[in-house]
């Protein structure tokens, strides 16, 4: 009996150590109760940020949290004001709203276009929770203004499950055939010539790795057929005229006081051209994408839907 009692005491001691470690780790990780946060307030938003919203799986706030996939949100409110000015938006709040509603619209340099739409499954935040998060984000380097936040209520879609209805192409296609066409170098125009996918291809246009996880079939179809309808931030076309009257259309690679670098299509080959300020007569952002707009003529219907199916499988 004594040996049994010793075994019991030993077991309880080991479990006590386990529980102590759990309590200690809870203190380190800042994990709270995760309980029901309601209403539009910074407090409720903070709970959603670290809980249901799962924002913390990709973003940290200064030394709180450890994620590095997305930008550090410390002083976000003040940074958002600067970005709003640079992008022509009315306020930093609008910039934040736009970033949540359409995450691919502003992808911060150095980060991938991986942010999911939080109102879609599996996260499915309702409108009130998103507004609460916005009010919390306002406190990061700024002052919360709940009235201003609630004015954006109608811009935020309601959480909906309808968007996860499995997409079925109108004709039977094989995603593997789509993959072959995507990387087919023998064609005049190849997707991989401008898009990177799983490390393969060129990075002229947006990286399409994991695109199926963050975009809908409708978006992809529109992007292929009407490339200028939505141009991903950072991939806008620039129109440049030099002092000697030469005109260039291309992607802006970099721009500073000393030079402007454009990526231009030179006889089917993408090349970087450097222009110095004293040789530029005019430079203007275009509303037209550099991506060819005649894919409907270059691809058969089967090929087109094959590529869409293939891209949707990239999760």
């Amino acid at each position: 009996m004594r040996s049994f009692l010793n075994a019991v005491i030993f077991t309880v001691a080991v479990l006590g150590f386990f529980t102590y470690v759990c309590i200690y780790v809870t203190g380190l990780s800042g994990g709270g109760d995760g309980g029901g946060a309601t209403g539009v307030s910074p407090e409720a938003g903070e709970k959603v940020f670290w809980g249901d919203g799962q924002c913390h799986t990709c973003h940290r706030i200064g030394t709180t949290g450890s994620a590095t996939r997305g930008p550090d949100q410390e002083s976000l409110a003040s940074r958002a004001e600067e970005r709003a000015k640079a992008t022509g938006l009315s306020s930093g709040l609008e910039y934040m709203v736009e970033s949540i509603v359409n995450p691919s619209s502003f992808v911060v340099e150095g980060y991938d276009n991986i942010m999911p739409k939080v109102y879609d499954p599996p996260i499915m935040l309702d409108r009130e929770k998103i507004l609460a998060v916005l009010s919390y984000l306002q406190t990061l380097g700024g002052e919360p203004n709940i009235d201003a936040v609630t004015k954006f209520k109608d811009r935020i879609p309601e959480a909906s499950k309808t968007k996860v209805v499995p997409w079925v192409p109108p004709i039977e296609v094989d995603p593997k055939e789509g993959e072959l066409i995507f990387f087919d170098d023998t064609r005049d125009v190849t997707c991989s010539k401008c898009h990177l996918l799983n490390g393969k291809g060129s990075k002229v246009g947006p990286d399409l790795t994991g695109i199926g996880a963050v975009q809908t079939p409708q978006y992809l179809i529109e992007s292929v057929l009407k490339p200028s309808a939505v141009i991903v931030k950072g991939f806008e076309t620039m129109y440049l005229i030099t002092n000697d009257g030469m005109a260039y259309n291309g992607l802006l690679v970099s721009q500073d006081e000393k030079e402007v670098v454009l990526m231009v299509d030179e006889d089917g080959k993408m090349e970087e051209l450097v222009f110095y300020p004293d040789e530029i007569a005019q430079m203007q952002k275009q509303d037209v994408s550099i991506m060819p707009g005649n894919f409907s003529e270059m691809l058969t219907t089967k090929e087109f839907y094959g590529i869409i199916s293939f891209l949707l499988n990239q999760k």
């Binding site: 479990l15 109760d33 995760g34 249901d52 799986t57």
Partner: protein, 670 residues
């Protein structure tokens, strides 16, 4: 010898009967109190209904609580208890049949008796497992009716199959247990008995796989329309994306679980033994339990890695939550528990060497193995990003600690896990040869040994070559693919090393062959891949998953080939001294207890992680959890709950084993 009369004589038959009667009374009173509560609740409900002006139509409820207690907590506790008992009753038949086969082939009655003793525990635990399973089903249907309605709609054909398999398992288990004497009389009968044991395993595994498909469907649903829930393919709902990874992981984990629970049973019995004979028996039993547990523990990290990778593939959001989000800290706790298992297992082996004459030749090496294991443990524990204060960050000048950051990333963790496994395996080899002296030349073992070794090496080399060819054919961009080439080179080098080991063994240089293979493996899989992991993470992150599989493949190939060499190397070797069963230090038994508590707690923790990854979804992406409990509990809360579950499980196990032992006492007294 003076006999001191104990204050309470727990071996007294009268006292035992009183305890059983007292327990019966407690259960009866609880049931009565609950029934009274229900009756009162019903009476109140009837009164409320009477007071209603109009009779309301029947209202369908989605959630209920358990007489005021949180329904989720109740389901959590019951399902974990059921899973733990199920793990035990599924694992024990696997090694019972193996032990019985060893006994039958070697005509060694000790193994047969041991297998029978394990089966006695099994039959006692089986009824508890079934009762808990029934309780779990009632709890789920009662507390989560809407969810269970849907699950029944989808899986009802498999539920009938489950019931049939359950009947199969019951008949095989009791047939296996009660026909032991009857079928042991002739060799033919013995093999019929073993066949019943094999059938028992098949039914048990089928049951586990059926239930797994329901759990993995909740994590990665397939075969349904995600909007309407209509079943489009029952096959895909059943064979969903995570089904096979979970099956593989659970089978291996169950064996480790069963081995360590049996080890703890033997430890308690050993500590309470009064005769040398009893001590020798339970020491041997504990050794077998630890051997089984450790053997399954070694491949478990590989199966865990495979499962984790597939979780990422099934849903990147879920993968992020697991390793980079809410659950990342729970993996630090997991590392502590796994560290306990490896350290406890090795500590037991080293203590075990003290009962083996001749083991003193190897004891000087043990301190080095100790250092390596603690080093691995420390690296494994290091979080990816140590939480730093603003001041510390300013002082360091960057987000990560300049030194510890190298230990926190996947490249370092993969390297130390493989080193930990190699060290434990090395430790086990030392134990095996502790009482062995001069070995016989390999050539003296005849052609059977040569053929076995050639087949083993052939299969291992074929696997490595197959994977190397697969890597060569991977469709990646050239600037990334160049980082795959070193992996192929390492696989080829390992193939060459294995072939050289084979030739050395044939040349009667088996010990040198083992050391050579160990060194080559450690240099490549641990040292080189640790460094190269950083390179890959920096320049071609995509290649990291191929690197991990290459690393694991190289280590496993070394373990397999070295084991087979070892078996023949020490076959018929001269014994320096016998194993003195029962002459093991008392403290070693606490290592067995630690192993049991650690693995039961680990199972509780991993159950929380696997289930919690779904966050606020019953069925991920389709059916949301809209109950009040749709949030992830804090790690501290999980710690308390899992500790409670472990205490309940161990208490139930102790009670059930005590009941199983009553019959033996009766026989002894008779």
């Amino acid at each position: 010898m003076d006999y001191i009369k104990p204050f309470i004589n727990f071996t007294s038959k009268k006292l035992q009967l009183r305890i059983v009667f007292a327990l019966f009374l407690v259960i009866f009173l609880i049931a009565l109190a609950t029934g009274t509560g229900m009756a009162q609740e019903n009476a109140e409900a009837a009164k409320a209904a009477k007071d209603a002006v109009m009779a309301e139509p029947y209202k369908v409820v989605d959630y209920r609580n358990f007489f005021g207690l949180d329904g989720r907590l109740i389901v959590w506790i019951i399902s974990e208890l059921h899973l733990m008992f199920a793990a035990f009753v599924l694992a024990v038949p696997i090694f019972v049949v193996i032990i019985e086969i060893i006994g039958a082939k070697g005509n060694d009655i000790r193994f047969d008796n041991l297998a029978r003793e394990f089966t006695k525990l099994l039959s006692a635990a089986f009824a508890t497992t079934a009762s808990l399973g029934g309780l779990l089903a009632f709890a789920l249907y009662g507390l989560y009716p809407a969810f269970m309605r849907y699950m029944t709609d989808v899986f009802h054909p498999f539920m009938f199959i489950y019931a049939l398999c359950f009947f199969g398992e019951v008949f095989c288990l009791y047939g296996y247990y009660y026909s032991w004497d009857l079928l042991s009389k002739t060799p033919k009968g013995k093999w019929i008995h073993i066949s019943i044991g094999v059938m028992l395993n098949l039914f048990g595994t089928a049951l586990m796989m059926l239930a797994n498909s329901w759990a993995t469907f909740m994590m990665a649903p397939g075969g349904i329309n995600m909007e309407t829930g209509t079943v489009t393919s029952l096959y895909h709902a059943f064979y969903n994306f995570l089904w096979m990874p979970v099956n593989i992981h659970r089978i291996i984990a169950n064996v480790a679980f069963g081995g360590f629970v049996v080890g703890a049973y033997a430890a308690v019995k050993f500590m309470g033994s009064k005769t040398d004979e009893e001590r020798a028996h339970y020491d041997w039993m504990g050794y077998i339990g630890n051997f089984i547990g450790l053997s399954a523990l070694i491949p478990l990290p590989f199966a865990g890695y495979y499962l984790g990778r597939e979780v990422y593939s099934a849903s990147p959001v879920m993968g992020n939550i697991m390793m980079g989000g809410a659950f990342s800290w729970t993996f630090i706790i997991q590392a502590i528990l796994i560290g306990m298992l490896f350290i406890g297992g090795n500590y037991y082996l080293w203590n075990g060497m003290s009962r083996i004459k001749g083991a003193e030749r190897y004891t000087p090496y043990i301190k080095y193995i100790n250092i390596v294991i603690f080093f691995c443990f420390a690296v494994w524990l290091t979080p990816h990003n140590l939480p730093l204060s603003g001041e510390e960050r300013a002082l360091i000048g960057e987000q990560y600690h300049p030194f510890s950051k190298f230990f926190g990333v996947m490249a370092a963790k993969n390297a130390v896990v493989n080193l930990l496994i190699l060290s434990t395996f090395f430790s086990f080899l030392l134990y095996r040869r502790a009482n062995k002296g001069e070995t016989k030349p390999f050539s003296s073992h005849g052609s059977a040994a040569r053929i076995t070794l050639i087949i083993t090496v052939g299969l291992t080399v074929m696997y490595l070559a197959w994977y190397a060819l697969g890597l060569r054919g991977i469709d990646l961009d050239e600037n990334i693919k160049q980082y795959v080439s070193p992996l192929i080179t390492c696989l080829v080098l390992q193939i060459i090393a294995i072939v050289i080991s084979l030739l050395l063994t044939f040349a009667n240089k088996g010990k040198f062959a083992q050391i050579f293979l160990f060194v080559v493996t450690a240099v490549m899989a641990v040292i080189y891949f640790w460094y190269y992991g950083f390179v890959v993470m920096e320049k071609a992150n995509l290649v990291l998953r191929y690197l991990s599989v290459t690393q694991v493949s190289i280590v496993i190939s070394c373990l397999i080939v070295n084991t087979v060499i070892d078996v023949f190397l020490f076959k018929d070797a001269r014994e320096v001294g016998g194993i003195q069963w029962g002459k093991i230090p008392h403290r070693s038994q606490y290592a067995l207890l630690l192993l049991c508590v650690a693995i039961v707690t680990l199972m509780g923790l991993m159950g929380f992680i696997r289930s919690g990854l779904r966050m606020n979804w019953h069925i991920y992406g389709y059916m949301q959890d809209t109950s009040a409990g749709a949030f992830t509990p804090s790690i501290a809360y999980m710690g308390w709950t899992v500790s409670l579950i472990v205490i309940l499980f161990l208490a139930l196990v102790a009670f059930v084993f005590w009941l199983a032992g009553l019959a033996d006492k009766k026989k002894k007294h008779a």
